[in-house]
């Protein structure tokens, strides 16, 4: 139900629809741009991931291999690989050109809600409904995760990575930030189940969307509330939120079928 993330926004907000892709995948669970924004991926409930050129509206390749609907996908920085996670509890690593599954990581006990590559595409971090975040190694062939982050008390709805941080949003109403550099776990209590988290581009803030129809911008270091954005409706579904490229606007999908934008500083 997530909407395509808006492209890196120019100072003015995107106001018109450029392209509509007829995916033919049933319900599209997620749509993601690749690293440079030239391609996008759609995750269908028909167990496939499709790669598109959204500017031309052409389907480039279909990735089949999941056992159940695909819930999230992400492309690597060099566009050579795709990772996806689905309701089949598996995380798959795809080769973009061949369309084959390179590896499949099994270990989650529930649906995999979100997957992310790290910056160098050496690790896939996946968050699952089983309340664990698992870090899978793409380099070695070991089948078990490098580390399991099982601090969450409820399902993980969103995972984001920075160069040295893992940001997770969980249904238990907490945003957790694992800092690999300092070896710390910062857990911020929001209260309402978190649907989506993201870093700001400057890496100073964390944006968290929760099911109380509120977006909150938190200071990353102290956890203080910098801004609150309301007006949209988000009470049931896992909807994404973003900050634009210049950190000037906050965007979020709403259950009324619109995408809402807020000025960051109001």
């Amino acid at each position: 139900m997530a909407f395509p993330r808006p492209r890196p926004a120019r100072p003015e907000l995107p106001r018109q629809r450029v392209q509509t892709l007829q995916c033919g995948q049933g319900a599209v669970r997620a749509a993601r741009f690749n690293a440079d924004g030239n391609y996008c991926l759609t995750c269908g409930s028909d167990k496939t991931v499709k790669l598109w050129n959204p500017h031309k509206g052409t389907a480039l390749r279909t990735y089949q291999g999941h056992g159940y609907e695909v819930l999230d996908a992400a492309g690597s920085f060099d566009n050579s690989q795709i990772c996806s996670g689905g309701a089949d509890k598996a995380v798959a690593l795809w080769d973009v050109t061949t369309g084959q599954v390179v590896r499949k990581y099994r270990g989650h006990a529930g649906k995999v809600n979100c997957v992310q590559f790290n910056q160098e595409a050496t690790v896939i971090v996946s968050g699952s409904i089983d309340s664990t975040v698992r870090c899978w190694d793409c380099r070695s062939r070991r089948p078990d995760p490098i580390q399991v982050l099982d601090e969450a008390k409820d399902g993980i709805s969103s995972v984001k990575l920075s160069a040295y941080e893992i940001l997770t949003g969980s249904v238990d109403g907490r945003v957790r930030r694992y800092d690999l550099r300092t070896g710390q776990l910062c857990s911020d209590y929001i209260g309402s189940p978190i649907t989506s988290v993201c870093f700001s581009k400057d890496g100073q803030c964390v944006l968290a969307a929760s099911l109380d129809s509120t977006l909150r911008l938190l200071d990353k270091d102290t956890g203080e509330l910098l801004g609150e954005y309301t007006g949209h409706r988000s009470t049931t579904y896992r909807l994404d939120c973003v900050l634009n490229e210049q950190d000037t606007h906050v965007g979020c999908a709403s259950e009324d079928g619109h995408v809402y934008f807020w000025d960051l500083v109001e």
Binding site: N118, Q119, E120, T122, V123, C135, D137, R139, I146, Q147, V148, L149, D150, E151, A163, Y164, R174, Y178, D179, L180, R181, T182, G183, Q184, L185, C186, S187, D188, Y189, I190, G191, R216, L218, D219, T222, G223, E224, L225, E228
Partner: protein, 917 residues
């Protein structure tokens, strides 16, 4: 000449050989290769300089070094990390050149005949030599044993020949018509002594031929190979040493000779004067020794005799010649006559020939004569109660531990370990009890006995009428006796449970006999066993049945012991209820919620933990490991009580404050009266001042804690679940309004903790009033000062209603139901031991055996109260609380403890329940 040369044309010149190529311009004249540089090279272009004999004759390597043109380079280093396993073993071939392996090298690789397939000719000679040596050897015939032992290896040639029909001892070649004459004396060879009359010898040959069938062909005679053993001694040619037996023990030798004198007349003739020189006992004659003075013939001294004249092999025919020990050459002129005397006269089948030797008569051994009193039927002797019984008794005794018998009768080896221990006066080892019954309480045992007795009586009553029609098989007296014994021994047997075990249930009569048998065994009546067996049975049948009974009895014992072996004592009592739990818990939600409500994000809503990323994860993220020395991954963990609810729950603030204190108590159970130590579990100062009255109360209570008091682990569980559930409903409203009040738990909590559950003194009539009192108490809970003064009875009753739901019946059901629901709601987060179903079960069990505990508790409590009376009044009051609490703990121990069979648990259980579990 010069003129001629100059004038003459080319015709005059004579040229030899081919002309050199005309030199071209600028070309340098090739220098001839100097001698020292004219080298010989092999096919590979390597120098093959000739050395002296001592240096090997040819060059090896690079100028006889291990180096190469580029210098000495060891073989390229290959890491053996991967292929450590398949390290190759270098053989000499690895260091050899190809030429060495060629046809003419030192190790030719061409196919050559191996020893297995080489012709056996050489070996045969060796054999001969060995045979000869065997004769000469100090122990004659020794080598024969070697042959016996030696491996029988047949060469492929021999095998092929055999396939073609060749047999050992035959010659090779086309079969001949006539039997070839044996090795006749070579006509050229001189015969020593007087020759046989020609007629006689020829005649004998002819005679022999007469008996040969016309159409029979024979294989040619085997050709004896030439013995090529070198002569190593200084003896004359063909000399064989004396046969010591012959040469030294002349008498025997002569006797031996005499045996064959008749048959070997001619051979004696051959030896010439042997007969004449009979006076000489021993004589060494033969050519090797030259011509003796007594011999007439001296003209042939220098006659050269060929080797073929000498016999090189001891043949079968030889014994006939009677020349043992004599080494002189002899001729095959043997003993035909003796054989002829009993030769078979008749026709011989084609392909068969008459046996040359008559077969030895077969020795017949007569069967052993039977003893006089032998009877062909075996009767089993009646078992005379000996050691067998002793063993069985031992087994039975071990199973029950009840059977007494005098150890004096038993031999040293028949003693059990226990008996030996008794005799030696050693202390009993602490081991697993041999039977379940030891785990049971006295009372249970008695009751068991009663039950068993009753059932046995019933069985007997059934069996007795059954038996009456069958009485013709059994004499009445043992039957009566057994019945009597059963009544007598009812109690004893009940323990053994023999009536439960019916190996012969199909045959009631047999079963009966078996039971009697076992019984008498237990009584130690060894000799009377016989009479329980059916007298109509044969001896053999009895014996068999007895065997069966023994087996059955032993089997019964083993089954009993297997049952007891199912239970074992706990080995690690300390660690079982510990579990690893994250050291730092995320702080409780409530205050955060309020903070969120007030939009006070930041310090209030943030928890910071030490978190250890995996080393590999750091590597993959290109981040330096923040904790390079730690082996922890994730959050640091600590060991906690397994059954502490707080490992799995985050409870509302007031509840934690109390239970935290409890946890502290567990941790600091040794340090009792110390001032309160600040620990991680302690709440912050801000929180503390909110509820200092409570903490004071708790610390006071803790200071009174008995050392012997068990850590109230299950109690905390229960109260934790209870309070955490009830608190939001009852108290949270108040919390929001009054911050002060929120710090304080409601009275229910204290009741849940400090009130005895199984206080049976509180009458059941009060139970109805509990429900009315409950809301009241929750109200009073807000009053801080009153909490100590709340009457014991009412608070205890509330707890009572929880634990003794089944007792109180319908009226108290709703409340208890609530409690159960509460636990159920927390179920998914809790370990399975706390599921409500389990809880109910515990309650069931508890109800059943409350009586036991009741008594026990009452007594205990009484005692404790007495002790406390001396103390300060306030303290006494609290002490009471403590007492109750401890009792509650112990009681909830039994109810909530896990499956492990603690002694306390099992005492309250009937064996049936035990088994069900």
């Amino acid at each position: 000449m010069a003129a001629v040369e100059s004038s003459d044309s080319e015709e005059d010149l004579v040229s030899y050989g081919s002309a050199l190529q005309p030199l071209q311009e600028g070309e340098r004249i090739k220098k001839p290769v100097p001698l020292q540089e004219q080298t010989v090279k092999d096919a590979k272009g390597r120098y093959q300089r000739f050395h002296g004999a001592f240096t090997g004759g040819f060059s090896a390597g690079y100028f006889n070094t291990v180096g190469t043109k580029e210098g000495w380079t060891p073989s390229a280093f290959v890491s053996s990390r991967q292929k450590r396993a398949d390290r190759t073993i270098l053989g000499p071939e690895d260091f050899m050149d190809e030429e060495d392996l060629s046809e003419f090298g030192i190790a030719p690789k061409d196919i050559t005949t191996t020893d297995d397939f080489a012709s056996k000719a050489k070996d045969r000679i060796k054999e001969k030599a060995r045979q000869i040596a065997g004769v000469v050897a100090p122990i004659p015939g020794m080598n024969a044993f070697d042959d016996l032992i030696g491996p029988s290896k047949i060469t492929i040639g021999v095998e092929l020949l055999r396939k073609m029909g060749w047999k050992e001892g035959q010659g090779i070649g086309p079969r001949v018509k006539r039997k070839p004459c044996r090795q006749k004396p070579d006509p050229t060879v001189k015969i020593y002594g007087c020759a046989l009359p020609p007629g006689l010898s020829e005649g004998s040959e002819d005679e022999e031929d007469e008996y040969q069938p016309e159409n029979v062909t024979f294989a040619p005679k085997d050709v004896m190979p030439v013995d090529l053993t070198p002569k190593e001694n200084v003896h004359g040619l063909g000399y064989k040493g004396l046969d010591p037996s012959q040469a030294l023990f002349g008498v025997s030798g002569r006797e031996h000779l005499n045996l064959f004198t008749g048959g070997s007349e001619e051979t004696n003739n051959l030896l010439g004067d042997l007969k004449h020189s009979k006076g000489r006992k021993l004589g060494i004659t033969g050519q090797a020794f030259g011509v003796g003075a007594l011999e007439e013939e001296d003209d042939d001294i220098y006659a050269t005799d060929t080797l073929s004249k000498y016999d090189t092999v001891l043949k079968d025919e030889e014994p006939g010649d009677g020349l043992y020990g004599w080494t002189a050459p002899k001729q095959y002129k043997s003993k035909k006559r003796s054989e002829k005397e009993f030769k078979y006269i008749g026709k011989v089948l084609a392909g068969f020939s008459l046996a040359s030797k008559s077969s030895a008569p077969i020795k017949i051994y007569p069967p052993p004569s039977l003893p006089r009193n032998y009877r062909p039927v075996h009767y089993f002797r009646p078992v005379v109660a000996g050691n067998e019984n002793c063993h069985l008794q031992k087994a039975l005794k071990e199973s029950t531990g009840k059977l007494e018998s005098d150890p004096t009768h038993q031999s040293r080896h028949a003693l059990t370990a226990a008996q030996r221990r008794e005799q030696l006066g050693e202390a009993e080892l602490k081991g697993p009890a041999p039977s379940i019954l030891e785990y049971l309480s006295e009372k249970d045992r008695e009751r068991l006995k009663e039950v068993k007795q009753a059932s046995e009586q019933q069985v007997k009553a059934k069996i007795v009428p059954q038996q009456s029609p069958n009485s013709r098989f059994q004499s009445a007296s043992p039957e009566d006796a057994t019945l009597k014994w059963q009544r007598q021994l009812g109690g004893q047997l009940a323990n053994a449970g023999s009536s439960d075990f019916k190996p012969f249930a199909k045959d009631p009569e047999k079963q009966k006999r078996y039971e009697n048998f076992v019984k008498s065994l237990k009584q130690g009546e060894k000799d009377t066993l016989e009479r329980f067996l059916d007298p109509n049975m044969t001896e053999w049948e009895r014996g068999r049945e007895k065997e069966e009974f023994f087996r059955a009895a032993i089997f019964y014992r083993s089954s009993n012991s297997t049952l007891s072996s199912r239970f074992t004592r706990a080995k690690y009592e300390d660690d079982v209820d510990k579990v690893e739990v994250p050291r730092d818990q995320e702080k409780d939600i409530d205050d955060k919620e309020t903070a969120v409500k007030m939009k006070m994000f930041g310090r209030l809503t943030r928890d910071k933990f030490e978190w250890h990323p995996d080393k590999l994860l750091c590597k993959r993220f290109n981040v330096r490991d923040p904790y390079p020395d730690s082996s922890i991954v994730g959050l640091p963990k600590v060991k906690r009580d397994k059954y502490s609810v707080f490992n799995f729950l985050t409870v509302s603030e007031p509840a934690t404050s109390v239970t935290q204190a409890k946890n502290e108590k567990i941790q600091e159970s040794s340090s009792l009266n110390k001032p309160k130590k600040s620990s991680r579990w302690d709440v912050s100062d801000k929180e503390k001042e909110k509820k200092d009255s409570i903490s004071e109360f708790i610390s006071l209570a803790r200071s009174k804690t008995d050392v012997q008091q068990q850590p109230p682990v299950p109690a905390t569980e229960k109260c934790g679940t209870g309070t955490s559930e009830t608190l939001p409903t009852v108290v949270t409203d108040e919390d929001k309004n009054q911050e002060e009040e929120s710090g304080r738990p409601p009275m229910d909590l204290f009741k849940a903790i400090f009130v005895s559950s199984s206080d049976e003194k509180s009458s059941s009539s009060e139970e109805e009033s509990d429900e009315e009192q409950q809301p009241a108490t929750s109200q009073t809970a807000s009053e801080t000062t009153k909490q100590v003064d709340i009457p014991d009875s009412s608070s205890s009753n509330i707890q009572e209603s929880v634990t003794a739901t089944t007792d109180s019946g319908v009226s108290s059901l709703p409340t208890s139901k609530q409690e159960l629901d509460a636990t159920e709601e927390f179920g998914p987060k809790l370990p399975p031991a706390f599921f409500s179903g389990r809880f109910c079960k515990h309650l069931d069990r508890k109800e059943k055996h409350r009586k036991f505990r009741e008594k026990h508790k009452a007594k205990k409590e009484h005692k404790r109260k007495k002790e406390k009376k001396k103390k300060h009044k306030k303290q006494k009051n609290k002490g009471k609380h403590k007492n109750k609490k401890s009792e509650k703990d112990s009681s909830s121990d039994t109810t909530d403890s896990s499956d492990s069979l603690s002694d306390m648990d099992t005492t309250g259980l009937s064996p049936k329940e035990l088994l069900r579990r």
